[in-house]
């Protein structure tokens, strides 16, 4: 069985895909930020500025001395300390040093100069041998991760499976060229080949969905048609089964909740804004964690955004009521508000009724990518939304997104990427045996595939972008990263061993956490805080409501 998955990034990485009205798209890095980092250490995964190497070395020395001389502090360090962002070596070493009661000065760091009788820094390190070429990295660390990357994980494959992949790619290429008649004949061939391939698992199964999606694109056009018409109710059911069948959503909720819990530490009035309430699956755990926190729970407000219910039911309110019952049972003062909106961009900040005295957490699980428009234009939805999020001055914004590049302009690139990504995701689902969770989870994923492959323009909402891109976009929009640490990592890993089959892996990536299948990350979680240099633009609550 073949699992192919890829992260093919567009060759041109310099422009962002959206632009704001009054300024050019932010470049990946400002010139003054582009410090020269040691190229060899960068290759090993560590960002250290060449100018700081000596200082980091001295700190490492100090750390070692401290570790040897204070065994009590050391064993605490080994067991309790939370580590953050190991790539930033200087900060990592400093944070460990700060755990020691009395970080020593290293006797070897300083020596007495026999002539002047003054203490001087002992510069005992060799300089690099003169005939060794110095390797300097001309591109920044961030830029590296934006370069063309394609991650593939495969397993044993039968010939017909390989042929199927070939044909899928060729068909997609025909479509990109506009040769629909040739594409159609490939489609027919593939449908024939599919009957001879095992479609219960592996490439046969996922290929079937891709063949389907290509068929839709060719015959029904790119407007989405019936797929996008799935009712909100249906979507919620499918989402729930996807939640049960595999750990991706559990990981998302778990990691976000941990970060929110930490951000709310010491705050008595907290307000969580959930960009996609669904069945409110994320919140019981947070409510319970807040109930148990030392010092007692805060007053918790939850604002859940979701699509309007067509049949007169107020499904948002129903979920709110259930959450309120739970909160009451654990003595957490709780208030819920539902905001019905068909699209996230229709939400206005005044609808959230944020009180300036409360600590706000904005929680976006796989929603931001829906705001990426098909054309970079003025005031694209994502910029608008990020801007008003910022105006709320949230204590934390948790963002979880698919770790994939499904928003490339070129169809073939996007198709290739999706084939690899969803093959891997389907393969990971093999580990689940519970029905109907698995079957419905597959339908949930199939809808994503169909949207990525057969839709364009405003109908294509599954515009996934990789973490590196989100970092750039969010930094450019005035947010700074809050690093997820080793405690979150450990808990996520433990959650996996409890609930899932072997093969899932959590990785730390520059302060963010990803969950993937074998070596391929599929979902990325990050946390952000608004930079506070801009004046708050948030208007007083009752002045901007339309009459």
């Amino acid at each position: 069985m073949v699992l192919y998955d890829s992260t093919a990034l567009a060759g041109n990485s310099s422009g962002s895909s959206s632009s704001s009205s009054s300024k050019p798209p932010p470049p990946p890095l400002q010139p003054q930020q582009q410090q020269e980092i040691d190229g060899l250490l960068a290759g090993a995964g560590y960002k250290v500025r060449s100018s700081e190497l000596r200082k980091v070395a001295q700190r490492l020395e100090r750390l070692e001395t401290a570790m040897v001389n204070s065994p009590a502090d050391f064993s605490q360090l080994a067991s309790d300390t939370i580590h953050y962002n190991p790539s930033d070596l200087a900060s990592w070493v400093d944070s460990l040093l700060s755990e020691f009661a009395q970080p020593p000065t290293c006797p070897s760091e300083f020596v007495m100069d026999p002539v002047t009788n003054q203490t001087v820094v002992n510069d005992a390190w060799t300089t690099t041998e003169p005939n060794m070429p110095q390797v300097h990295q001309n591109i920044s660390y961030e830029q590296q991760s934006l370069n063309n990357q394609l991650t593939v994980v495969t397993a044993m494959e039968e010939d017909s499976g390989i042929r199927l992949v070939h044909m899928l790619m060729t068909c997609a290429e025909c479509i990109q060229r506009g040769d629909f008649s040739l594409a159609t004949s490939f489609l027919e061939d593939m449908q024939g080949l599919l009957t001879r391939v095992n479609t219960v698992c592996g490439i046969g199964k996922v290929a079937g969905h891709f063949i389907d999606a290509l068929g839709r694109r060719i015959f029904q056009g790119i407007g989405g048609g019936s797929i996008n018409g799935g009712s909100a109710y249906e979507n919620e059911i499918l989402y729930h089964h996807f939640y049960e069948a595999c750990p991706y959503l559990k990981f998302a909720h778990f990691t976000a909740n941990q970060a929110i819990l930490e951000a709310f530490d010491g705050h008595d009035c907290v307000h969580v804004v959930d960009f996609n309430l669904m069945h409110g699956l994320q919140w019981p755990a947070l409510i319970q964690a807040l109930a148990l926190r030392p010092g007692g729970p805060p007053l918790l407000r939850l604002t859940g955004i979701g699509p309007p219910s067509p049949d007169g039911r107020d499904s948002l309110r129903e979920i709110g009521l259930r959450l309120a019952e739970l909160a009451r049972s654990v003595n957490v003062r709780f208030a819920f508000r539902g905001v019905a909106a068909s699209r996230l961009e229709d939400v206005k900040p005044w609808m959230l009724e944020v009180n300036p005295k409360e600590s706000v957490a904005v929680n976006s699980i796989m929603q931001l990518h829906r705001l990426l428009g098909s054309e970079p234009n003025r005031n694209s939805p994502v910029e608008t939304v990020l801007s008003w999020i910022r105006s709320l001055n949230p204590k934390i914004m948790t963002v979880v997104e698919q770790e994939a590049n499904h928003n490339q302009p070129g169809f073939l690139d996007r198709f290739t990427e999706a084939l690899h990504y969803y093959s891997t995701m389907f393969d990971s689902l093999e580990a689940c045996t519970v029905q109907p969770d698995k079957a419905l989870a597959e339908i949930y994923i199939q809808r994503e595939i169909t949207n990525v492959v057969s839709c364009e323009g405003s109908a294509r909402v599954e515009r996934h972008e990789p973490l590196a891109r989100w970092r750039t976009r969010l930094s450019g929009a005035g947010f700074r990263p809050l690093h997820l640490g080793s405690n979150a990592y450990k808990q996520a890993s433990m959650l996996l061993t409890l609930f899932s089959a072997e093969g899932y892996s959590v990785e730390e990536n520059d302060g963010c956490l990803t969950l993937g299948w074998h070596s391929r990350p599929l979902i990325a979680a990050s946390a952000w805080q608004a930079l506070s240099d801009a004046p708050a633009e948030f208007p007083a609550p009752d002045t901007h409501r339309p009459s």
């Binding site: 060799t126 041998e129 060794m132 072997e502």
Partner: protein
Amino acid sequence: MARSNEVNLNECKMVVPLNTWVLISNFKLAYKLLRRPDGTFNRHLAEFLDRKVPANANPVDGVFSFDVLVDRGTSLLCRIYRPATAEEPQPNVAELEKPVTAEVVPVIIFFHGGSFAHSSANSAIYDTLCQRLVGLCKAVVVSVNYRRAPENRYPCAYDDGWTALKWVNSRPWLQSQKDSKVHIYLAGDSSGGNIAHHVALRAIDSGIDVLGNILLNPMFGGQERTESEQRLDGKYFVTLRDRDWYWRAYLPEGEDRDHHACNPFGPNGRSLEGIKFPKSLVVVAGFDLIQDWQLAYVDGLKKAGQEVKLLYMEQATIGFYLLPNNNHFHTVMDEISKFVGSDC
């Protein structure tokens, strides 16, 4: 044993470039946090701290890579590195396993180091090293993500190595055009070197030909305390205590360091006299405290009539091959290239 409170950091500062010192010291300190006195290992923190990189099927500097699940039961992954050819600079992803085209293509099965407990095939330092080997030897490199100690003791790492060897040997697309056979070399650093030896042993009488072993600072040991261990203890990043910890973590419980896994030419080792064992290239660093065991290994091979070349790098510390900023690195890379190139 090193004197407990005095930290002798001055010697190693003098012999390595600054960035190497920072890298290896960072590992040294981080690893210390992970080894618990009771013999357990903080695996979550280890995975969190390890810097990993994804495979990349788009060629970078003429090399592309992809991961393969070689054994579902043990979740054994291998990362395959291949040279991008001039005719096909951008491989179609459906053609990753396209047959090699040259008359002779060496396939190097690589076992990363980490004293059996640390690192992975997708650790950044090893990904970089494997990419270098591709260009250097015009080879396909297969890096094995073997199971690690202490959760998986002897013989898991060897079993995984053997599984990978069988898998490589049975890939039609890795067969050289000249004789339709896969031209296999086993290579590894530290614990990876140890694994290479033992996998080569297993291959004897199996019908699988291993053309050569490349052992970089291979991890061997024994009950006895040798002169180099005493002289160099704690001086160049490594202590006897940590070496002991890793052996206790890998070897079966209750076994001592004269177990044949640790000490292949010791009292419990197997004689290689008269055995068809691959030729070996063994690199020993002059500042590695276990060099006496590595030199004893070379001697053991020689006494058994096996072909072995020793590269003794006097001024080298452990890990010198991780960054290309020293002469030892280039010397060793040249030798490896000649060693692999010599059967064409």
